[in-house]
């Protein structure tokens, strides 16, 4: 099957994509409304927590982190999909990524912004957050460069700014199209400003290609480092269950995994909401699904590696944490993670499910859930069952403020993401055109070759 019809006229592409920015289906507004409502819940929770103290979230000693950090890792992980699709597959000349990388990149940017919020929400003294970043101050005070949390802050900030840059630069030719096709109004002004006078000259294209490629190359190690550093928050600590060498690789695999499953979810939603059936085609979905399956298996393997290395380390404390995950109070969630993360993706191995949109929608949601559970199962059990048995605590569960904030983060993300898709072209017009053109070329060549043979 073909990834995309090769006979779509270029003008048609422009028209279809620009239409998505004008008149999406009604469902778009429904989603936006619920996203906003969910976000408001989070604002309420944060105001309450800010005023009263972190205690209202039902954290405690030893449960010092809870869902905020778990969900923070979840969103950081999510962000890796964009880089995978736009940068890695770009370098590998995987053509099929073209219609979907734009929204994947937006996913990266907005999930990073969501993750960043959790760092803030988590801080006991949010109003002093800048103490943990290196800024020049009159007393010559510096943050602690030994702390993985500081590396984290810096890595995320760099990743976020690079991602925004990457997203923006890759959009310039499309922004010029928008500028040229849209009626007068604020939008036109915006696109005029943002397209930086793009004319599509040869020189511009050449510069554009080089810049884009450079940032793509820069972004890949950054993406890997970001999640390795998040892993370092745990691996560099001394706590049982966290002090694991394979954590960086494991975290990166998990990140790609959750990113891919998020792409499937959003793929399905966007395809419907913005009537992108022509571009976000089932063959492309199928490729994404296969990629996801492969990553799921890598993740499963790395999971097994982690358990095995803990088991054979003969470190009793770490072993206890593992046993605790399997049979203790967290067992339902831990097994939920195994089920969602390692069993559910087996569905993806079956051809008939690889293009079945309803099934894939449910599966992708389950995979996401599994990935969220994974993060919680990394964070919480070590707190409840650490080195010091006197402080073991199996009775404390996250309170409604924590859950509210987790819930709201999905609203916040969806709001940003859906807003973006309405204001900016979520399918890359120029890349799809390239795709169609390449296919035509390919077709012509093969026809000629055939004729020559006869």
């Amino acid at each position: 099957m073909k990834d995309i019809r090769e006979d779509i006229a270029w003008a048609q592409i422009n028209q279809d994509v620009l239409k998505s920015m004008e008149s999406p289906r009604k469902l778009y507004w429904v989603i936006l409304f619920f996203a906003f409502a969910a976000f408001c819940v989070g604002v309420g929770c944060e105001v309450y927590q800010y005023q009263t103290g972190m205690g209202v979230a039902n954290k405690n000693n030893p449960h010092a982190w809870g869902l905020y950090i778990s969900t923070f890792i979840f969103w950081i992980g999510m962000s890796h999909s964009g880089t995978l699709l736009s940068a890695i597959l770009h370098l590998m000349h995987a053509d099929w990524r073209k219609p979907i990388f734009r929204f994947a990149e937006a996913l990266t940017t907005f999930s990073l912004m969501t993750a960043g919020l959790f760092v803030m929400v988590h801080l006991g003294r949010l109003w002093q957050f800048y103490y943990s970043v290196p800024y020049p101050d009159e007393r010559g005070l510096w943050p602690n460069f030994q702390s993985p949390l500081l590396w984290d802050a810096m890595a995320i900030f760099t990743y976020l700014s690079s991602s925004i840059l990457f997203l923006y630069i890759g959009m310039i030719p499309d922004l010029a199209i928008c500028r040229d096709h849209l009626h007068e109004g604020w939008r036109k002004k915006l696109y005029t400003l943002l397209s930086l006078g793009w004319e599509g000259t040869d020189r511009q294209w050449r510069n554009f290609r080089v810049t884009y490629l450079t940032i793509a190359c820069f972004l890949i190690p950054l993406a890997v480092s970001v999640h390795s550093i998040v892993a370092a928050d745990f691996a560099m600590s001394q706590q049982p269950g966290w002090h694991v060498t394979s954590f960086p690789a494991y975290f990166v695999a998990g990140a790609l995994y959750s990113g891919c499953s998020a792409i499937i979810t959003l793929f399905i939603i966007l395809r419907y909401v913005f009537k992108f059936e022509e571009y976000m085609t089932l063959p492309i979905l199928k490729k994404t699904v296969r990629l996801t399956f492969a990553i799921a298996m890598i993740w499963t393997y790395l999971n097994a590696v982690e358990f095995a290395s803990v088991w054979y380390s003969h470190d009793q404390a770490s072993k206890d944490v593992l046993i605790q995950k399997v049979v203790g109070p967290f067992a339902p969630f831990w097994w939920g993670m195994i089920f969602c993360g390692s069993v559910v993706p087996l569905m993806l191995a079956f051809k008939r499910f690889q293009t079945n949109v309803p099934v894939l929608f449910v599966v992708s949601l389950l995979l996401n859930l599994g990935m969220w559970l994974e993060r919680w199962m990394i964070v919480a059990p070590t707190f409840s069952h650490g080195y010091y048995p006197w402080t073991w605590d199996h009775d404390q569960w996250p309170g409604f403020v924590q859950w509210g904030m987790v819930f709201a983060s999905f609203g916040w993300f969806t709001m940003l993401f859906m807003g973006f898709c309405k204001v900016f072209p979520s399918v890359s017009m120029y890349e799809v055109k390239e795709m169609v053109y390449h296919r035509k070329l390919h077709l012509k060549n093969s026809e000629t070759a055939e004729q020559g043979a006869h």
Binding site: Q316, A317, D320, S384, Y387, Y388, P389, W390, T391, W392, D393, H394, D395
Partner: protein
């Protein structure tokens, strides 16, 4: 004084030195100065109050009767922290947690601040003048025998003044009540050793065998004994002391024992006789008396394995001197005196008397010697109240509405007294029943002298002095109140004393020769006394006179099973809450019980086996029912209790007292049966039988212990080694 027209003997009585004629011979210079010497607030800072610099005053801890000397740190006119005064032989610079919380008694937000008079269901504020006038009026309408005064243990000049006041109104009904006093042990000691409170030299003993005496937690003088215990652990000649604790419910002391011996409740005396028999060291009538107590019978009756009895006897024989103590075994039962007598007999047989049990000193001034509280007093008062004998009842430093056994129906009987005056720090359960509530100064604002019941070394009089200015304008010291009241009747005799401070100073100066101040001028002596906070006296040493005797010693057979109420209720006495009078001090509420680590609530200790039998798990709300009532509390599965018994701690379950006490936990006093020791008439605290039933509710027990339930999970956290592996003699 010179022109007061009193004769010398009366004057001695007024000032409290009556009965000390010999000591007074040097007395001649007794002028009384006017002018106050009180702590000045920061606003009118004295020259010596330098902001930022702490000043330290010595005084006496009033949180319990042990009489530890304290040293208060005062800054900017506020007392901040209490430490032990190193000069006191009782506590040598140390304090217990309860003592630490003394500042929270002083700064307590729920203190009574104004005199209050009952108007129907409510109280209204009145002036002190009116309050005094009212008392005078009520007393005028009552004969001496229609007046009763209930107090906690009192000593020193306050006791003198109280006695004089009671004499002035012709009241002979002074009831000295302490809910948790070692009264049976006192009587038994008196019989066995000739002294109620001899000195126990735990530090000189190689083996301590304690029958439920929680000397590390709440028994008699815990800080003092804790220090002795530390020395005992270091050992005499490098041989570490061995502690064996026999009891049905593990106390803090039991938790520190080398061997904790769970015994069937009430059979401690039998075990003691069994050990005497096993020792084979007794002769004559003692040997004859214990002959029947062979190890098999004793084991059967007490539940202690024969091997255990052998080992204890062997160890006692091997290591001498030892020390045997009778604690809750004595206080607990209708045959408590018999138990205590059997236990004390062990000391005689082992030859400990005179070695680890020594004569103690006491102050020669009998008027000042402590009036020791007991529970028999409560019973007499209650009987009198029930009979409607009293028109006026005073109550001070006791909260019987909270602490009286439910079976006595004390609260109902109290209502029969026409006019009840309560001298109170808080509106506790008893004060709430009063007609007139008079607010007291805190112990850190008040003047006093105190004579401890248990003397550690020589004898001492403790000085209690204000550590700071009064917090509330309208509270009064108990001494000042008594002085004002006694002046109502004997104005002439007391007119030269403007206040209790003047009285106290005069009294001390009058006798300064005997108090070690001979030769010094008044001011020097007085300042010196206040600086030290203690007056050390040679004291008079009573000789040990008791004899080993089995006359009248009969131990009942172990109590039969009670089908309706199958379990013994052992009220738990905790080091920080005791009888509950300090339950409104939040540090104590939040300080975990050492054994269960539970905070802010009561619990029912039940053995895991028993719990399994009854289908009870931790946190189940249990209803504990006795013949006298029932209470509800959460279950805590506790291995340190005999399966035939349950234990509920005392001190919580207030429905008054203050914000930190009210509504937390349950009060087991309420369900105690009225069973008394046959010999002394003291309340037998462990004789109440109960049954437990599940209510179906379940809570999460609020405690410090985590989900690992007090196990180390092989993590080498609290480690121990056995005596054969360690060489203590080389340690620093």
């Amino acid at each position: 004084m010179i022109d007061s027209g009193l004769d010398r003997r009366d004057f001695l009585k007024v000032l409290g030195w009556g009965g000390a004629a010999a000591a007074l011979s040097g007395c001649g210079n007794t002028s009384i100065e006017d002018g106050k010497e009180t702590v000045v607030s920061y606003v009118e800072a004295a020259d010596y109050a330098i902001p930022g610099i702490g000043v330290y005053y010595n005084s006496t801890c009033a949180q319990c009767d042990a009489g530890c000397s304290i040293n208060g740190r005062v800054r900017e006119g506020r007392v901040l922290k209490l430490e032990g005064n190193p000069a006191s032989a009782i506590n040598r610079g140390k304090t217990c947690g309860l003592g630490q919380a003394g500042v929270q008694h002083h700064y307590n937000p729920d203190r009574v601040r104004e005199p209050m008079l009952r108007k129907g269901d409510k109280f209204e504020t009145i002036t002190w003048d009116k309050a005094y006038a009212l008392i005078a009026e009520k007393l005028n309408g009552a004969k001496g025998e229609e007046v009763a005064f209930l107090s906690g243990g009192v000593s020193g000049h306050l006791k003198v003044l109280l006695g004089n006041y009671l004499a002035s109104i012709g009241c002979k009904n002074h009831y000295v009540y302490e809910a948790l006093a070692p009264a049976v042990a006192r009587a038994a000691n008196k019989k066995a050793y000739g002294i109620e409170m001899p000195r126990f030299n735990i530090n000189k003993a190689k083996v301590v065998l304690s029958f439920g005496a929680d000397f590390l937690g709440s028994w008699v003088s815990p800080v003092h004994f804790s220090q002795q215990y530390a020395q005992f652990r270091k050992g005499v000649d490098g041989q570490r002391g061995v502690l064996i604790q026999v009891e049905s419910k593990m106390t803090l002391t039991g938790a520190n024992a080398d061997r904790w011996v769970p015994v069937r409740p009430g059979t401690e005396g039998i075990l003691a006789l069994g050990i005497i028999n096993e020792l084979g060291m007794a002769s004559g009538d003692i040997a004859a008396a214990v002959k029947g107590y062979d190890r098999i019978r004793v084991s059967k009756e007490t539940g202690v394995p024969p091997g255990q009895i052998d080992k204890i006897a062997a160890l006692l024989k091997l290591r001498s001197p030892s020390l045997v103590l009778a604690g809750s075994a004595a206080e607990g039962y209708a045959h408590g005196s018999q138990n205590a007598a059997a236990i004390n007999l062990l000391n005689h047989v082992l030859g400990n008397v005179g070695k680890t049990i020594e004569a103690s000193s006491s102050v020669t001034f009998t008027q000042m010697a402590p009036a020791k509280g007991n529970t028999a007093a409560l019973k007499s008062l209650n009987d009198g109240l029930a009979a409607g004998k009293y028109k006026v009842l005073f109550s001070y430093a006791a909260n019987p509405v909270f602490t009286a056994p439910g079976a006595l129906k004390f609260k109902d009987n109290l209502a029969k007294a026409d006019f009840k005056v309560s001298f109170a720090h808080y509106l506790d359960e008893t004060a709430l029943q009063a007609d007139l509530v008079l607010p007291l100064d805190s112990a850190l604002e008040d003047w006093n002298t105190q004579v401890p019941e248990y003397m550690a070394e020589g004898a001492q009089i403790n000085i209690q002095q204000p550590l700071m200015e009064k917090l509330h304008a309208n509270t009064r010291g108990m001494g000042d109140i008594l002085l004002a009241l006694v002046k109502q009747r004997r104005a002439e005799e007391y007119k030269s004393f403007d206040d209790y401070y003047a009285y106290l100073r005069a009294a001390m100066l009058q006798n300064k020769g005997a108090l070690g101040g001979g030769g010094a001028d008044d001011d020097t002596f007085w300042n010196d006394t206040l600086t030290k906070g203690i007056v050390k006296l040679a004291g008079s040493s009573g000789a040990l006179s008791g004899k080993a005797s089995v006359v009248g010693l009969t131990l009942p057979a172990p109590s039969a099973a009670d089908a309706q109420y199958p379990l013994h209720l052992i009220p738990g006495v905790t080091a920080s809450l005791r009888d509950g009078r300090h339950a409104n001090q939040p540090w104590l509420q939040e300080s975990p019980d050492p054994l269960t680590t539970i905070v802010w609530d009561s619990w029912v200790e039940i053995h895991p086996k028993k719990a399994a039998e009854l289908g009870i798990k931790e946190g189940d709300i249990l209803e504990v029912t006795s013949r006298s009532g029932s209470i509800k509390a959460q279950a805590y599965l506790f291995p340190g209790i005999h399966p035939d018994a349950i234990s509920v701690p005392l001190g919580r379950g207030h429905d008054a007292l203050g914000r930190y006490a009210k509504g937390y936990g349950a009060n087991p006093f309420q369900i105690l049966d009225a069973v008394f020791d046959q010999e002394t008439g003291e309340l037998a605290m462990h004789e109440t039988r109960v049954k437990v039933s599940k209510t179906g509710q379940c809570v999460i027990v609020v405690k410090d212990e985590g989900s690992a339930g007090g196990k180390q999970m092989g993590r080498k956290i609290a480690v121990s080694m056995s005596t054969d592996e360690v060489d203590l003699s080389k340690e620093v």
